[in-house]
Amino acid sequence: MKKFLLHTAIFSAPLLVVVFTVFYIANGKTDAYYLRFTTPQQQNLILGTSGAAQGLQPQVLDPIVFKNSRQHFFNYSFSFFDTPFGPAYLESIKRKLDTATKDGVFIIAVNPWSIAKKKNELDDPANFSENKRFIAKTKLVNLNPNIPYLVQSYSEPYINIIRKWKDSSDMVLHKDGWMEIDVPMDSASVTKRRNTKQKEYLHDYLPVYGFSGERYASLRELVTYLQSFGKVYLVRLPIHPVMFEIEDRMMPDFDEKINSLAVALKVPYLNFKKMENHYQYVDGNHLYKTSGRQVSDTLANWIVNNAR
């Protein structure tokens, strides 16, 4: 028995070194989410789906909103599959939020998909699809390296952590949570990507998704929760007109719903609809980084004006 244990220990030790080294070098290129679970608890959050993850840039917002103070935003937005409003996302936000915060600023990006569910599924939080995804499974969201996340939720072979470590990548997640996408922006590439996205949303999502009362209620709960730690701002980010059209078909009264919630909870709401033609989009749904900078700048100034 002793010999067996000794041999096993000798065999395992170098392997454990390799395992921890690989986990240690995981960074913003590892995947689209990992780095957000490796930072400490935060006081000012940007919340929402992938539009906010790629579109809202803390480095642009910070100097305008927080001026010379040492405060900063952290982008804790993910994707419409993973973080539509619901108990799983709310619980994750609670874990990420520094509860000592008194005068925090919280930007919640809303869109119809974030308060939608599949029509053939029960509108029951216990059955929401994200309950089985990383947002619900990752209980430790402030751990570096975040081994539980890498073990439970990282979906690629670990060799990719090494491969992407020093590689130039078209996707980089920054330490402030902003996801930078760098893809060719010539009109042919953009049109191709937009057409694919449009087709996907028209055929795969529009027919099957509809309003969810429970998700809407969860958004209300989130706003109320965050109000006890600071000021909350709602924003509907710009998307390409063809994508707005699909959103309008899916949930025609979306703006009314958000407006009524904003009025009821006394939360400012900035709607970028009707301004969508001023910006460039990676694929119709996500702002290109230069436009993201413009939108972040507009949003920051609007927050400052509202705070006065």
């Binding site: 028995m1 010999k3 067996f4 041999h7 096993t8 065999f11 170098p14 392997l15 390799v18 395992v19 690989v22 073990v151 439970q152 979906s155 690629e156 072979p157 670990y158 060799i159 990719n160 090494i162 491969r163």
Partner: protein, 483 residues
């Protein structure tokens, strides 16, 4: 708690240390702790069915003792029937009830008769097909006076619920496992080291080959309607490899964990892809099920049909394989799968060559052309029916076949190549080559221990372990867990 999960890893480490360090003094303590571990393992999946497992074991235990005790042959038979009714009844209720109800309703509606039979919302208890078959064989072996019943309840309950093979087999027979449970286990370095090697190899098969190739398989089977026929053929080949790597990987790990606890359990695979005909294939694939069915279904049926000559053998084979198909699940696709494999046997029965093809010599590096042709032919037959196994419905299967028989068979296969699929394909080739070279051994890398010097050996183990860590695909359930 699947074998390749962190939860199982932690569970097993804790179990291993307590089992060998705390309870090594007596067989009684070892068995009580083993049974506790088995029930914790099972309850981890779904504690609601633990009572079913325990209840079924209790009934079988008492029936076994009473079958052996009674001198009255009629009473013996009735006790056996009670056991069979309990075992098969549970299977029929949980696994086949809805299938039969739906099939009957559809069949009668075809004749314009409307039946109003209710289906039930049932969850299939995990491992029921495996532990029920263990219990049934136990009673049949007692009735046939092949074994004596055990009078030690803990031993029997541990036999039925033995956790390394509880949820996906192998279907261990009582005559193999119970004597080992009745003896005190002493730690054996060679057996434990062998177990570690098996786990390493099983893990490679499951997480590197099966889980990665599964990405390509899913892609092809889900999007078959828009893919060229050549891709669909590849899909069938990939799924055959995936199913083998997944199930044999699980079985290898099960044997490894059993070895670490001081047990030897049934070998479930013997290089089936190197079989030269379908009979050889079934002698090498899911061996514990095949031998169970041969002993308790095929042999009695052959005896019943003995006067019909080859027709009788064909009848017995067809019934046997229809049941093999049905064992896998309550779906017409599985019955069809079984039926096709039964049909494959007919030429062998008619020619009288079922057991007449010799195995390929393990000394040869390459097979002869005839052997190679037979191996490829047998694999093609298996891969053709694996489509039925993979598709969820008869309609899906028929459409898949229809798409295969189209002009696009000559076009270049199309599917997304990413890190997972590339790794899956490369390591499938590594798997097949390693298994070919190691086919004379109990498992493919068993020879590493005797053939190579220590530095080479350890280099091989490290390489394997690193490949497992770096190339593991997305964690997927074992395919045979659903059965």
């Amino acid at each position: 708690m699947i074998f390749n999960s962190v939860a199982f890893f932690l569970f097993f480490i804790a179990f291993f240390f307590i089992y060998w360090l705390v309870f090594k003094q007596s067989v009684k303590l070892q068995n009580i702790f083993l049974l506790t571990g088995c029930y914790v393992f099972y309850a981890w999946w779904d504690w609601r069915f633990l009572a079913l497992l325990a209840g079924s074991s209790l009934l079988t235990y008492y029936l076994g003792i009473n079958i052996a005790k009674t001198q009255n042959e009629k009473k013996k038979t009735w006790l056996l029937y009670a056991g069979l009714l309990q075992g098969i009844g549970l299977l029929v209720f949980f696994k086949y009830y809805n299938f039969f109800v739906t099939s009957f309703t559809e069949a009668f509606s075809f004749l314009n008769i409307k039946l109003h039979l209710q289906t039930l919302q049932l969850i299939l208890p995990l491992g029921i097909s495996f532990y029920t078959f263990r219990s049934i064989s136990y009673l049949l072996d007692i009735k046939n006076e092949e074994i004596e019943p055990t009078t030690n309840g803990v031993v029997f309950f541990s036999y039925v619920a033995f956790f390394p093979s509880l949820v996906s087999g192998p279907i261990d027979r009582a005559k193999l496992l119970i004597p080992q449970l009745e003896k005190k286990r002493e730690f054996n370095y060679n057996l434990a080291a062998d177990g570690m090697r098996r786990i390493l190899w099983g893990m490679f098969k499951k997480v590197v080959v099966a889980d990665n190739i599964a990405i390509a398989t899913d892609q092809i089977f889900d999007g078959y309607a828009t893919m060229p026929a050549s891709s669909l053929v590849l899909g069938a080949i990939f799924y055959a490899i995936q199913l083998y790597a997944d199930f044999s990987g699980y079985s290898e790990m099960a044997m490894g964990f059993a070895n670490l606890l001081g047990f030897n359990i049934t070998k479930n695979f013997n290089y089936p892809f190197f079989a030269q005909n379908i009979a050889q294939f079934w002698q090498r694939w899911h061996i514990s099920l095949t031998s169970w069915m041969t002993e308790y279904v095929f042999t009695p049926l052959s005896f019943i049909f003995r006067r019909k000559g080859k027709t009788g053998v064909i009848l017995a084979i067809m019934i046997n394989f229809l049941l093999v198909g049905l064992w896998h699940g309550s779906n017409w696709t599985f019955i069809w799968f079984g039926f096709m494999h039964g049909l494959y046997f007919i030429p062998l029965i008619l020619k009288g060559t079922i057991n007449k093809t010799p195995d390929i010599s393990t000394i040869k590096t390459f097979p002869s052309f005839t052997e190679f042709r037979k191996i490829v032919g047998t694999f093609a037959l298996v891969a053709a029916t694996i489509i039925i196994f993979r598709c969820g419905s008869v309609t899906h299967t028929l459409q898949y076949y229809r798409h295969i028989f189209s002009a696009s068979i000559m076009s270049k296969p199309v599917f997304t190549l990413n890190m997972n699929t590339i790794a899956g394909i490369i390591f499938s080739v590594v798997l097949i080559i390693t298994e070919w070279l190691g086919r004379g051994q109990d498992y493919a890398i068993a020879g590493v221990n005797t053939r190579f010097s220590k530095p080479v050996r350890w280099t091989i183990y490290y390489t394997l372990a690193l490949i497992i860590f770096l190339f593991a695909g997305k964690e997927q359930q074992f395919i045979y867990l659903q059965f």
